[in-house]
Subunit: 387 residues, 2 copies
C-alpha cells in the first residue's frame, strides 16, 4: 500500500523534511494538508494548565470547526517560552498559510520535544518552505517518522470502510497520563462529516483509547489529537459508522503507544470493577497504574498482589476493604482481601500482564487503564534527556 | 549514652530478639514497655482503607488513651491475611499481656514486611516469651534494629529537656507517601501528660514531619506512630514544650527516613508557594514529588525545569500558568513560566536538591514536601521483593 496513515484517505497530502531542529539529524518537520473539497475538523487537547504555544494556536484555529493544514515539528516542544514562544507558533501557522494560500486561522501547529528552548526559527522557516514544496499524497509514512521523539517505531493506523476510510499517525512514548499522554495524533478521513459529528466521534474514541493510557502519571503541555475530514469520498457515514472507524484507528495507535512506551518491558492492562461508578473505577485503576511499587513488581514479573491492595486502598473509590479480589492473568491471587493458594507462583514472565481488581461493593462501576512496568530503561531514558 | 531511643526517657524498657520471621536470620521482634507510673498514649495510623490486622488491634488498644506495651515484628506485615490475620494479631497482644500481667487492651501491635503471608505464629509465640524475659532499660538500640526491613541503618532520636526527655525509634524506607509512609514509629517520654496533650503534640508533629515525606506516592497498610508517656520524670511540661520536644524527635526521624529511602541518591525538598491555601500548595508539592519524569531528572542531576512546570500544571491548585517561577538550589531557572538565562547549567550534582515553585497567584498558600529521586537502585530493590 503506497497510501498509508494520514494519506490513506483521499483528499490529503503530506510532507516531511529534516529542518535541523533535532541534534540527531533525523527528520523533524511534517505537514498534513486537507485538499478538500470539505475542511471540517475537531480536536482534543491537553488538560494541563501549563500549555505549550502551539496548543494555543491550534485551539484558536480549531474554534470554527475547520482547519486545512497541520504543521508538526519534533525536537522542540515550544512550551514555556513566554511571549516569544507564542509569536513563533503563530509565525509557523502564518508561514504555512502563506505557502499554501490559506488564512492563518486555517493552520494548526503541533510541537513535541524538549520544553523551554526557543524554536530555531531560521531552521523552521526554511523547513516550512521545504515542506510546502514536497507535499505528496504518498508521504504519510514519512510524516509519521518526522514526528517521532524517543519513539522507537513510527505509528500509523488505517480503517477501510465501504467507499471511505480513516487514517492516522501518532507519536507518544513518555509523559503518558490522563487525558491523552504526550501524544500528537493526526487522524484523517475522506468521509463527509460535520465538525460536530467529528467532535463526537473523536471524544468518544479518545475516552476509551488515548485517555486509558497512563504510562507514568505525567501529562504533557503539548498533547493534541486532530481529526480532519476531506469529504473526498462523497460518502456521509452514520454517526455510529464514523464513531466505529475513528475508534478503530485510535485504538490501534493507543496500542502502539503502549507497546513503545519509554523503557517498557511489560504491557499491563488494569481493569477495576465492583465499585459505584465508572469514574471511581477509573480513579482506582489510575492509582494502581501509577504506583511505583506495583510497577516495579510488574518489571520483576513478581505477583505481588499485596502492593495491589495497598495501592487501591488509597484510591478515591467506593470499596469493601475486606472483600477485594485481585486476578493476575485471570488467576485469582487474592480473594476477599486474602491471598489465594498458589498466588506467589502465578507466571507473569510474558510481555503482557492482565490485572483485574474487584473492589467488592457489587456496584456497576468499571474501567480499564493501560500502563507499563517501571524498568531500568525508563530511569535511564528519563534521567539524561535535556543534558 | 547507654539509654538511647525509646529507652532514653525514664520509665521504659525494651527488648529485641531473633524469632526467625526474617529469612535473613536478623533480629525481627521487639517490645517496648511503659513501666509507669503513668500510661497515657496517643497514635496516628495509616489513612489507607486496606489496613493490616495489627493496625486494627492497635487502634482498639489506643481508643482509651492508654497502652502499656507495644510489640513489633519485622519481616511480615500481617496485612491482607483475612480473619486469620486478625486472630494472629490479637494473639500477639494477648501473649504479651499474659507475659507482663496486663490486659489484652493494654498492648499495641506493629508489623512490617511482606503483605499477604500468614505470620509464623509458632516462631512469634516463642519470640514473645523471649522478649518478655529480655526486657532491659538499655535495649532501645537493639529494638530499633529489630524493626528494620530494607532500612540500611537503624533510626533513633532523642530530645533532652530540663528534667524530662522524649526518645524515639522508627523504620521506614519505601511506600512513603501521604499520611505517614510505610513507617513504624514509637515515641516515648517520661513527661507527665494527658492522652489529649499527647494526641495534640503527635498530630502537630506528624503533620510537618512524617506527613511531609512523600517518597514514592505509595501508602502502607501498616503505618503506625505511637507516643507513650510514663510520667516517670514527675514533670508536666506545657503543651508548647511538649509539642516542641515531640516535633524535634519526629523531625529527626523523618530526616533519617528521607536519607535512607529506597534507592535514594538525592534528597529533594520541594516547597510550593504563591497559591491560595496551604492545602493547595501541598497538593502541588505532592504532584511534583510523585512525578516520575521529574524524579528521574533529579537522579540525573538534570535541571529540567520544563518537567517541573508540566507536573505542577496538572496539580489541583490555583495558579497563573503564565506567571510560574521555579528555583533549583536557589537559582531562578524559570521566571514567568519562561526559562531563565543559564537555567540548563545549574549544578544539581550534590546529594541535596532544593526546589521552590511559585505558582504566581500572590496567594498565601505554602507547603513543603520531602522526596527523593527515582534511581536504578529503587527499581532494583522493588522489582525483586517478594520472590
Amino acid at each position: 500500500m503506497t497510501h498509508t496513515g494520514v494519506t490513506a484517505p483521499r483528499g490529503f497530502a503530506a510532507a516531511a523534511t529534516t529542518a535541523g531542529i533535532k541534534a540527531s539529524g533525523k527528520p523533524d518537520m511534517a505537514l498534513v494538508v486537507n485538499e478538500g473539497p470539505e475542511y471540517t475538523a475537531a480536536a482534543v487537547f491537553t488538560r494541563n494548565r501549563v500549555v505549550a504555544s502551539p496548543v494555543k494556536v491550534s485551539r484558536a484555529a480549531l474554534a470554527d470547526g475547520s482547519v486545512k493544514a497541520v504543521v508538526f515539528n519534533s525536537g522542540n516542544a515550544n512550551a514555556c517560552n513566554g511571549a516569544q514562544g507564542d509569536k513563533d507558533a503563530r509565525e509557523q501557522a502564518a508561514l504555512v498559510a502563506a505557502e499554501l494560500g490559506l488564512a492563518d486561522g486555517d493552520v494548526a501547529v503541533c510541537s513535541t520535544g524538549l520544553i523551554g528552548d526557543l524554536l530555531p526559527m531560521d531552521k523552521v522557516r526554511a523547513g516550512i518552505t521545504e515542506l510546502a514544496r514536497a507535499l505528496d499524497p504518498d508521504a504519510g509514512s514519512a510524516a509519521a517518522e518526522a514526528i517521532m521523539t524517543t519513539d522507537t517505531v513510527s505509528k500509523q493506523a488505517w480503517a477501510q470502510r465501504d467507499g471511505w476510510s480513516v487514517g492516522a499517525m501518532g507519536k507518544g512514548v513518555g509523559m503518558m497520563a490522563p487525558s491523552l499522554a504526550t501524544m500528537l495524533v493526526c487522524v484523517t478521513t475522506d468521509a463527509s462529516a460535520s465538525a460536530q459529528a467529528l467532535d463526537e466521534a473523536l471524544r468518544k474514541a479518545s475516552k476509551v483509547t488515548f485517555d486509558s493510557l497512563d504510562i507514568d502519571g505525567s501529562t504533557s503541555t503539548n498533547d493534541t489529537v486532530i481529526l480532519m475530514a476531506s469529504g473526498a469520498s462523497g460518502i456521509t457515514p452514520s454517526q455510529a459508522e464514523l464513531d466505529d472507524a475513528v475508534a478503530q484507528v485510535c485504538e490501534s495507535l493507543a496500542q502502539q503507544m503502549q507497546s513503545d512506551a519509554e523503557g517498557v518491558t511489560k504491557r499491563v492492562t488494569i481493569t477495576v470493577e465492583g465499585t459505584s461508578t465508572d469514574e471511581q473505577a477509573l480513579n482506582a485503576a489510575r492509582t494502581l497504574g501509577r504506583d511505583n511499587l506495583f510497577k516495579c513488581a510488574m518489571f520483576g514479573s513478581d505477583p505481588n498482589w499485596g502492593r495491589t491492595l495497598a495501592a487501591v486502598g488509597m484510591a478515591d473509590a467506593d470499596m469493601d476493604p475486606e472483600k477485594i479480589s485481585v486476578y493476575f492473568n485471570a488467576h485469582a491471587v487474592c480473594v476477599d482481601s486474602t491471598g489465594a493458594p498458589g498466588a506467589r507462583e502465578v507466571d507473569l514472565s510474558g510481555p503482557d500482564i492482565d490485572v483485574r481488581v474487584d473492589l467488592g461493593t457489587g456496584g456497576p462501576g468499571r474501567a480499564t487503564v493501560r500502563t507499563t512496568d517501571l524498568s531500568h530503561a525508563y530511569v535511564e531514558i528519563n534521567s539524561a534527556y535535556s543534558t
